[in-house]
C-alpha cells in the first residue's frame, strides 16, 4: 500500500483514536458496536492515505446507518477531528497490525489480532447494550373490575390525588389491548385456503406415482394492525395525557407495532423512550425531552408534521390511530380539517379521545373539534378509568 514511513504519527499510535471516535459516537447515543468500528478501521486502511474528507466519509459509510444520525455524526466528527489536529498537524496515519485486510489465509491471524484489540478496547463500554430490550409482556387479562377500584373507575383523572394516580396508572397498564388484524399479501400453507399450492401438491403427488390425489392450499396470513397514539400535552390536557401515557405504555407492551407521538405546539416522537422497562422513568424522560409540555395547542400543524414525515411509512398506513386532545385548536381550523381528512384516508380507524366529553354539558362546538369530527370514526371521552376501558374496546371493534 502506501509508504507510511515519512509521515507523522499520532503519539498514541493509530488505533486508539479511531476506537475513541467510536466511543464518542456511542456516548452520543448512536449504536456503534465493535463490528462497526472494525469495519471503520478496515475502511480507513483500504483508503490508504487519508485526509479529513476521506476519514469523514469512511466514518459515515461504516459507523452509522440512519439519516437522522447524520447531524450527530457530523458534530462528533468535528470535535474528534479537532482533537486529532491538536496533537498532529498533518494527516492522520494508520499503521495497522495487519496489512491490507484481504481474505487471504496468511492475513487471517493478524486480522484476528486486530479484532481482539478492538474487542478489548470496546469491552468497557459494551455493557450498556444490555438494557435495551424490553421483555415482551404477556398479555395481562386483568380487567379493571378489581374490588376497591370501583370509586376510582369513575373519578376524573384531573381530580386524583397522587396516591390514587399511581394506583390508576397501574390499573391502566393492566388493561388488555387488542388491535384488529389485517390480511397481508403473504400466504402460508393452510388446510383450507383460497389459493392452490402447486408446489406442495406436486410434492405429495410424487408419493402416488405422479397422481395428484391430495391437493394442498395456501391462505393469506393476517397480522395485527399498527397502533398509533397521538397525545396532546398542552396545559388543560396534562392530567389526562399523563394517564394516556400509561395507556401508551400498556399499548407498547401489547404488540410491537406501536408508535407514540406527543404534541403541544410541535410534535415529538416518544416511541423509543416508552420502550424502557420502567414507565415512570420513561415519563420523566419524556418530560425532559419535550420542551412544550403544557404549552399551547397546534393540532393541525402537529398533524401535518406527523403526516409529512410518517405517511410514507408503514406505521400509519392501515393503522388504528388514537388521537387524544380537547380540540381547542389555536391554529387554523381549516388546516386541522385538511390534515384530519388526510389522516382518515391513510388510517384504518381514527379514534378521537376528548376528556371534555366526560362533562354532560359538553358539545363539540369548539371550532377545531367541529372541523375534525367529520374525519373521526369513534369519539370517546377518556377522562376516567371507565372510559379507558371503552377505549380499549373501541380499539378492537
Amino acid at each position: 500500500m502506501v509508504d507510511r514511513a515519512t509521515r507523522g504519527r499520532t503519539p498514541e499510535g493509530p488505533l486508539p483514536p479511531l476506537i475513541r471516535f467510536g466511543r464518542d459516537l456511542r456516548r452520543r447515543d448512536l449504536s456503534v458496536g465493535t463490528g462497526r468500528i472494525l469495519t471503520f478501521v478496515r475502511a480507513v486502511d483500504a483508503l490508504g492515505l487519508v485526509d479529513r474528507d476521506a476519514l469523514y466519509w469512511a466514518g459515515r459509510a461504516t459507523l452509522i446507518a440512519r439519516r437522522e444520525d447524520i447531524p450527530t455524526f457530523d458534530e462528533a466528527f468535528d470535535a474528534w477531528y479537532r482533537s486529532l489536529r491538536a496533537t498532529e498537524d498533518l494527516r492522520v496515519e494508520l499503521d495497522l497490525p495487519a496489512p491490507a485486510p484481504e481474505r487471504d489465509d496468511a492475513d487471517a491471524g493478524s486480522m484476528q489480532d486486530l479484532e481482539v484489540q478492538l474487542a478489548r478496547a470496546a469491552a468497557e463500554w459494551h455493557r450498556a447494550e444490555d438494557d435495551e430490550e424490553v421483555a415482551p409482556d404477556e398479555e395481562s387479562s386483568i380487567r379493571i373490575v378489581a374490588s376497591g377500584a370501583e370509586v376510582l373507575r369513575s373519578k376524573s383523572f384531573s381530580d386524583l390525588s397522587d396516591a390514587e394516580r399511581a394506583r390508576v396508572a397501574a390499573l391502566i397498564r393492566s388493561l388488555r389491548l387488542r388491535v384488529p388484524v389485517e390480511r397481508t399479501r403473504r400466504t402460508r400453507p393452510a388446510t383450507k385456503g383460497d389459493r392452490f399450492d402447486l408446489r406442495r401438491t406436486l410434492r405429495r403427488s410424487l408419493r402416488t406415482q405422479g397422481e395428484p390425489f391430495e391437493r394442498a392450499w395456501r391462505a393469506r396470513t393476517a397480522r395485527r394492525r399498527p397502533l398509533v397514539l397521538i397525545l396532546d400535552i398542552s396545559g388543560s390536557m396534562a392530567p389526562y395525557s399523563r394517564a394516556l401515557m400509561q395507556f401508551a405504555y400498556a399499548a407498547m407492551a401489547a404488540g410491537r407495532r406501536v408508535e407514540t407521538f406527543v404534541f403541544g405546539t410541535r410534535l415529538t416522537r416518544v416511541t423509543r423512550t416508552l420502550r424502557t422497562r420502567d414507565p415512570d422513568r420513561a415519563l420523566r424522560d419524556i418530560g425532559r425531552q419535550v420542551e412544550d409540555w403544557e404549552g399551547g395547542t397546534r393540532i393541525g400543524e402537529s398533524l401535518r408534521a406527523l403526516l409529512d414525515a410518517w405517511s410514507q411509512r408503514a406505521a400509519l398506513r392501515g393503522a388504528v390511530v388514537v388521537l387524544c386532545s380537547d380540540g381547542l385548536e389555536r391554529g387554523d381550523p381549516e388546516l386541522l380539517r385538511a390534515q384530519m381528512a388526510r389522516l382518515r384516508r391513510l388510517a384504518h380507524r381514527v379514534i378521537w379521545v376528548n376528556p371534555l366529553k366526560g362533562s354532560p354539558r359538553y358539545e363539540p362546538l369548539a371550532r377545531g373539534m367541529a372541523a375534525a369530527l367529520p374525519s373521526v370514526d369513534v369519539f370517546l371521552s377518556g377522562h376516567n378509568l371507565e372510559s379507558m376501558e371503552e377505549l380499549a374496546a373501541a380499539l378492537e371493534g
Binding site: 484481504e102 403473504r186 408503514a314
Partner: protein, 292 residues
C-alpha cells in the same frame, strides 16, 4: 481486492462520470469501500435521486452483468431464490411409464427443472455480477431476515441438488426508500450512504450528461426551478429523475429557456401529486425565477 479497474476513490469518481453518473465524494467513497471491503452497499434517499442508477452504472463500469431483484410486498424465497418448474415436472412424470419412474425420479430435480431466480443467479455468477436488491423496504421483515442470511453466506442449499456457493461474492447494492426502517442486523452488514438531492451545479451537470440535447440555459433554468420547488412544502419532492424528465419534456417542445407558461404546461412532468400541483400553480412565477 484485486480485479477492480481503479485504485483510488478519485479514479472511481472519474470513471463513474465517464459513464454519465456524477457522484460526489461521499458516494464515491462509499462505493469504493463497498467494493474493496466486499461489503454490500445500502443506499437510502428520497425517490428519484439515482439509487438504482448506481448499480446499473457500476455493472457497466465493471463489465459485469446486472442482476436485479425488485422487492415488493409479499415477496418470498421462491420468488427470490429458486423455484421448481412444476408444470414441466408434471408433464415429465406423466410421460414416464411406471417401469421407468423409479429410476428417473431423481431427474425431476435436476437443473433442467430448476427455475433460477435473481438471488440464486447472483450466487452462481459470483464476481461476474452486480446484484441490485431494489426497494428492500417494500418487502416484509421475514424476507429481510432471509436476505440477511444470503448476504452473509453467499451460499444456499437446494436440498435436491446440493450446496451452491460463490467463490467470490458479487458486488451488492441494496436500495431503500425508507417507507419503513430496515433492521439493524442488516444495516450492520452493509455500508451505508444517504444520497441527498444534488447541489445546483451538480444537478445542472447531471441533466447535461443524461440529456445532452438540452441546452445549458434550459438545464440551469430547470435545475434552479426544481431547487425552489424542493424548498416548498410539498408532499412529494421532485428527484433528479424528475428534473431530467422535465428538461427532456421541455426540450421536446423546443424550449431553449424555461418560462412561466412552458412550466405551467409541463408541470406534470415534475410535480406528480394533485395537492402539490395546487400548491405550486399560484407560485409558478416565483418558482421559474424572480424576474418572471
Amino acid at each position: 481486492m484485486s480485479g477492480l479497474p481503479f485504485t483510488s476513490v478519485d479514479e472511481l469518481q472519474r470513471s463513474l462520470s465517464d459513464h454519465s453518473y456524477l457522484a460526489d465524494r461521499g458516494l464515491s467513497t462509499a462505493i469504493y469501500l463497498s467494493l474493496s471491503l466486499g461489503k454490500p452497499l445500502l443506499l437510502e434517499g428520497e425517490a428519484g435521486v439515482g439509487k438504482t442508477e448506481v448499480a446499473k452504472t457500476l455493472s457497466h463500469l465493471l463489465g459485469r452483468d446486472l442482476i436485479r431483484l425488485q422487492c415488493y410486498e409479499g415477496i418470498d424465497a421462491s420468488q427470490a431464490l429458486y423455484e421448481w418448474n412444476y408444470s414441466r415436472q408434471l408433464i415429465a412424470v406423466r410421460a414416464m411409464d411406471a417401469a421407468d419412474a423409479a429410476t428417473h425420479v431423481d431427474d425431476l430435480f435436476g437443473e433442467d427443472f430448476l427455475v433460477e431466480r435473481p438471488l440464486l443467479a447472483a450466487i452462481q455468477a459470483g464476481d461476474r455480477a452486480v446484484l441490485l436488491v431494489d426497494e428492500l423496504d417494500r418487502a416484509d421483515d421475514e424476507f429481510e431476515a432471509f436476505l440477511l442470511e444470503i448476504l452473509s453466506e453467499f451460499a444456499v442449499t437446494v436440498p435436491e441438488i446440493g450446496r451452491v456457493a460463490s467463490a467470490t461474492p458479487p458486488a451488492v447494492v441494496v436500495t431503500s426508500n425508507r417507507t419503513r426502517e430496515l433492521h439493524d442486523a442488516l444495516k450492520r452488514r452493509c455500508l451505508y450512504h444517504w444520497i441527498d438531492h444534488p447541489q445546483l451545479d451538480r444537478e445542472v451537470a447531471i441533466v447535461r450528461a443524461r440529456a445532452p440535447h438540452v441546452s445549458e440555459g434550459l438545464a440551469r433554468g430547470v435545475a434552479e426551478a426544481v431547487a425552489r420547488l424542493r424548498s416548498l412544502d410539498l408532499a412529494k419532492l421532485p428527484g433528479v429523475a424528475e428534473t431530467i424528465d422535465w428538461a427532456n419534456a421541455l426540450a421536446f417542445l423546443g424550449a431553449e429557456e424555461l418560462s412561466e407558461s412552458l412550466a405551467a404546461d409541463t408541470l406534470g412532468a415534475v410535480v406528480k401529486d394533485h395537492e402539490d400541483q395546487e400548491l405550486v400553480a399560484p407560485r409558478l412565477a416565483e418558482v421559474v425565477g424572480g424576474d418572471g
